[in-house]
């Protein structure tokens, strides 16, 4: 609980939705609001329409309402800001990612807004009772989650890493605190120790590649992309099964991103339709195109309706589609032939999507990492990956300490004493 950090969280319900509310609380809340919106802040407690831009890239994230509240007369007793933005996954993810990158800001932990309100004397005794319940619920939930993983593959992996890291830490700590002992001086080279840490980093990287729990809960992100008038919206509509996107023969009709949460053969999917990628067009369309590029880059699966030579940079799988199969000219195009008009190729496309999705979703009965667990593990992974390039034992020790502390956050165990136990078991220390 670093109470001087500024925290933020999505405080409205499940996405996608008409509106999403992101709340910020803490000393940097108003600074952060300003950093994303560029202009002067609206008067306190008055909504102002603002363009939200990622300060790192200048990319427009959304045009939305901003409300500011100055502490201490706020719900948490701190400065607060509230963004009421469009409720799509892409928008919320973009804003959260931009906020995370600001100094002093981090995603709020469970119940943290309440805790701050309480800390700053913003809750009465009845509220306190409520907080007690909240804590109890949180704990029960955590316990259940932990129980579910206990004896499971995840806890075995973490145990294995923790044991290996403890051994590495004992080696380094012995070298640091007992370098004058004969028994320690005879032990192996520093590069071996660093390499052992690097090996764990590789294991963790592989683990981080695994399907996430959020994909199961929120769905696989599928984006449809291609040049204007390639038939993206028609494909979107037939997959969704309703006329959600505006379809017209004019190029550049879909200027914003349209999302739908659907189930394809039982696989949860968030399908997004984007503006066609082309140069030129008006300003609003340019904004839409910028968003579309980001959407394609971050999607798990891209359905590409353009020419194979113009495939976009994408993190996920790309399925090349030859659209408008009903038009004779299309048959020469490469990729899976699909017609939204006749329904040709749609079943094959869905089968292909489900096949690609299978590797992205956790297998039934398997575990999946939550976003929190992934964040923590990524921290450990980065710290350990550093080790192989370090030559100063203290810095290696510090990296290993951070990695162990991170794993302890997942499992809730303490570190220093167990490292010392290991050290004294392994080395004959004492002159």
């Amino acid at each position: 609980m670093a109470d001087r950090d500024t925290i933020f969280a999505l405080s409205s319900g499940q996405l996608p939705a008409a509106i999403a509310v992101i709340r910020l609380s803490g000393p940097e809340a108003l600074v952060a609001a300003r950093a994303l919106t560029g202009k002067d802040l609206p008067l306190p407690r008055r909504a102002g329409l603002r363009r939200f831009v990622d300060p790192r890239t200048g990319e427009l994230l959304d045009e939305a309402l901003l409300l500011c509240f100055s502490g201490p007369n706020t719900e948490t007793g701190e400065d607060m800001a509230e963004f009421q933005c469009h409720g799509s996954h892409a928008v919320v993810r973009g804003i959260e990612s931009a906020l995370s990158a600001l100094p002093g800001l981090r995603l709020a932990g469970p119940g943290e807004f309440t805790r701050r309100a309480f800390l700053n004397g913003k809750m009465d005794l009845a509220g306190i009772e409520g907080l007690g319940d909240l804590i109890a619920a949180e704990t029960a939930l955590q316990r259940r989650a932990a129980m579910a993983m206990m004896g499971g593959a995840l806890s075995r992996r973490i145990d294995d890493w923790t044991n290996r890291l403890r051994g590495i830490a004992a080696q380094i700590e012995a070298r640091l605190d007992f370098s004058d002992e004969g028994d320690v001086a005879d032990a192996g080279a520093l590069s071996d120790v660093a390499a052992a840490a690097g090996a764990i980093a590789l294991d963790m990287a592989a683990e981080l590649e695994r399907p996430t729990a959020e994909r199961l809960r929120d769905g696989i992100r599928i984006a449809i992309g291609g040049p204007p008038n390639a038939g993206k919206s028609s494909l979107f509509n037939i997959l969704v099964g309703r006329d959600a996107a505006i379809v017209s023969p004019h190029a550049g009709t879909t200027r914003d991103i349209i999302e739908a949460s659907i189930s394809l053969n039982g696989v949860p999917v968030v399908l997004s339709d984007s503006a066609g990628l082309r140069s030129g067009g008006d300003d609003v369309e340019k904004i839409g195109i910028g968003r579309a590029e980001a959407l394609l880059a971050n999607a798990d699966i891209v359905l590409w309706l353009g020419s194979p030579d113009e495939q976009p940079q994408a993190e996920g799988r790309l399925i090349q589609i030859a659209s408008k199969a009903d038009l004779a000219a299309s048959h020469e195009s490469a990729g899976l032939a699909v017609s939204s008009l006749t329904g040709e190729g749609i079943d094959q496309l869905i089968a292909k999507i489900c096949e690609a999705a299978a590797v992205l979703l956790p297998a039934p009965g398997d575990y999946a990492l939550s976003r929190r667990q992934r964040d923590i593990m990524a921290r450990a992974q980065i710290a350990l990956a550093d080790c192989t390039s370090l030559h100063d034992e203290i810095l290696i020790a510090e990296s290993v300490r951070q990695a162990m502390a991170a794993l302890d956050e997942i499992t809730g165990r303490a570190t220093t004493e167990s490292v010392l136990d290991e050290l004294f078991r392994g080395f004959c220390i004492g002159k």
Partner: protein
């Protein structure tokens, strides 16, 4: 009760904790008495003849930064110096000196004698006297004298219920030739404080004239002339530096020990106390690490005017004849004469969780404890606690600001925090591994970290304050120098093998390049080469090297301090807080954490438990 005299602070014990406590209290302006059975033995180094080392050297520097005695005495008595981990990063370098016992004691004696407001009283303490509210108000000596005091600091070392073991021999007392303070021990036991029993040991002392030095490898003293104290040492006061030698145990040594284990009180079950894992007896080493073919033994001269040699690594409580036999099995020691055989000591300690962060005993207001009585081992750990206890005893007596250090600013803070919150299961020794913020807690920057605090608290003498002001001025100037911005081409011109990428960087950033030396930097900033500032420049260089890593820890430090700011009520009834397990309640009740941050560090306390504590603390305040 009629009292002969009234003191602000009485310190009982004249060891490393007691002398630091008495001097610290007196520096803060208290009228202080140091009571000890034998004033001639004030400042005695009762075990190994060395001061400092890894982790411990940090403590000595911190004690010095707070104007304590140990580093200055060690410098005056140093007959061998080694900077441990010299090839490693500065954060874990540990200065260690071997000190001539007699000269060390003499140095401490003279500092105690010169300290205004400090009086030494010879006598054995029989009992503490209590006034209103159960607060301590003085003590009675064995000869009937009564001394009044606003506060008392006990630094009784191993004297509390001490018993010595050597083979079949049992002797009451903490050190050869002295009485154990058994009466005082009984009184403390009657107070029903949580107590435990620990053991420690010491090796035989050898006659150096009977050692065949020519057959042994030398370990020379450092050539570089660093000092323990930031104040330095005039050339004229430096002692000649002696060499140490190294020998090894061997199969025969181990066989002799194994054959006689049944005569060791450690293995016959007579010793119940737990010994330190990092300072095992040779019996322990042979039993626990049976696969090793030998263990190093350092032969350390005890002084310039003595033939005594301390065989570091051979602590033992085997009978005298066995000790002689195994010693003589080793190279160079074939003819060795034992002057005093080694022995083990078992003694009482108070569970340090009974203390608050000032090292005050919660159960008896006005009583402070420092040193081995709190379950620690080592001169340095004792000195650090003595200084804290003495400074706080004076604070309570004179209504001054207490001295409370946190884990992010000092090893002393780590030591006190670990003791008060975790308690101990073996004699506690400082290790750099215990300090999660060790990248910022270097031995070389202890003055920068702590001396300003000592000056603010009135814990620094005038001489130290003057030194500090002058040094701080130079430091600020030199810091400015490190801001000087120069290009890669300039660095190349200075002879550094770096790429000229056209970027201008401040000297502080160039200092992080492995190819850049202080010489290269000094080409562009000649003041960095000035001889008088060498240690200061070194310190600033290390600051620059570690700055990015220290920065990364900032969030952790902020979190620590935020939680430290949330105070838990002293009378909080942990058992009445819903949701805490009985194990948590027990640990919290024993340690009585003063802040939410402290509670968070107690083992087994979960985030949910912390939230429950927070709720309880707030509702207690608003109720």
């Amino acid at each position: 009760m009629i009292r002969e005299t009234l003191f602000d602070v009485i310190v009982v014990g004249g060891g490393h904790a007691g002398t630091e406590a008495a001097a610290a209290a007196a520096r803060r302006g208290a009228r202080v008495a140091l009571v000890t059975a034998d004033p001639a033995r004030i400042g005695e180094m009762s075990c190994n003849p060395s001061i400092g080392g890894l982790g411990k050297g940090h403590l000595v520097r911190e004690v010095d930064a707070l104007d304590g005695l140990m580093a200055r005495a060690a410098d005056r008595a140093a007959i061998h110096r080694r900077m441990l981990n010299a090839s490693k990063g500065a954060a874990v370098r540990g200065p260690r000196v071997q000190a001539d016992r007699i000269i060390y004691r003499r140095a401490i004696h003279s500092m105690i004698a010169e300290q205004p407001g400090l009086e030494v009283i010879a006598g054995e303490v029989a009992a503490l006297t209590l006034g209103g509210g159960g607060a301590v108000d003085g003590l009675v000596l064995a000869d009937g004298r009564q001394l009044g005091a606003r506060t008392v600091v006990l630094t009784t070392g191993t004297f509390l219920g001490g018993v010595m073991f050597r083979g079949e021999e049992r002797i009451a007392g903490g050190r050869i030739g002295e009485h154990a303070a058994t009466k005082l021990a009984h009184q403390l036991r009657d107070l029903d404080l949580p107590m435990g029993r620990l053991k420690t040991g010491t090796p035989a002392r050898l006659d150096g004239r009977t050692i065949d030095w020519a057959r042994l490898d030398d370990q020379p003293s450092d050539i570089e002339e660093w000092t323990m104290s930031f104040l330095g040492l005039p050339e004229s006061e430096r002692l000649p530096q002696l060499r140490c030698a190294i020998t090894r145990t061997n199969d025969l040594t181990h066989q002799i020990i194994r054959d006689n284990l049944d005569r060791s009180p450690l293995y016959s079950g007579d010793i119940e106390g737990r010994g330190p894992r990092y300072c095992p007896s040779i019996e322990d080493k042979v039993v626990r690490f049976g696969d090793r073919d030998g263990h190093q033994v350092f032969l350390e001269p005890e002084g310039l005017d003595t033939h005594l040699v301390y065989p570091n690594g051979l602590s033992s409580s085997l009978p005298t004849d066995v000790q002689e036999a195994f010693l003589r099995s080793m190279v160079g020691l074939e003819q060795v004469q034992v002057v005093v055989p080694g022995y083990a000591v078992e003694y009482d300690h108070i569970d340090p969780r009974a203390l608050d962060r000032r090292l005050g005993l919660r159960a008896m207001p006005g009583l402070f404890l420092g040193g081995q009585i709190n379950g620690t081992t080592g001169y340095e750990e004792a000195a650090a606690q003595g200084l804290v206890a003495g400074a706080n005893a004076a604070a309570q007596a004179l209504d001054l600001e207490p001295l409370v250090l946190d884990r992010a600013e000092s090893y002393i803070g780590v030591l006190v925090d670990d003791l008060c919150l975790q308690g101990i299961t073996e004699p506690y020794r400082m290790l750099t591994a215990r300090a999660e913020f060790r990248l910022r807690l270097r031995a070389d920057n202890a003055a920068t970290r702590l001396t300003p605090l000592a000056v603010d608290l009135g814990l620094a003498s005038e001489a130290r304050s003057v030194w500090w002001r002058e040094r701080e001025e130079r430091r600020i100037q030199l810091c400015g120098t490190f801001d000087l911005s120069i290009s890669g081409a300039d660095m190349r011109a200075a002879g550094a093998d770096v790429r000229d990428d056209g970027v201008r960087r401040p000297l502080a950033e160039w200092a992080r390049f492995p190819a850049v030396t202080v010489g290269h930097l000094a080409t562009h900033a000649p003041e960095l080469a000035s001889a008088g500032s060498a240690t200061l420049v070194d310190e600033l260089l290390q600051d620059a090297v570690y700055a990015p890593y220290v920065e990364r820890q900032e969030a952790e430090v902020r979190a620590l301090r935020a939680n430290e700011a949330i105070v838990l009520p002293a009378d909080l009834d942990f058992a009445s807080i819903g949701g805490l397990s009985s194990e948590m309640v027990e640990r919290l009740t024993l340690a009585r954490p003063e802040t939410l941050g402290a509670a968070a560090r107690i083992r087994g306390i979960t985030p949910a438990a912390l939230a429950a504590l927070l709720v309880a603390a707030r509702s207690a305040r608003t109720a």
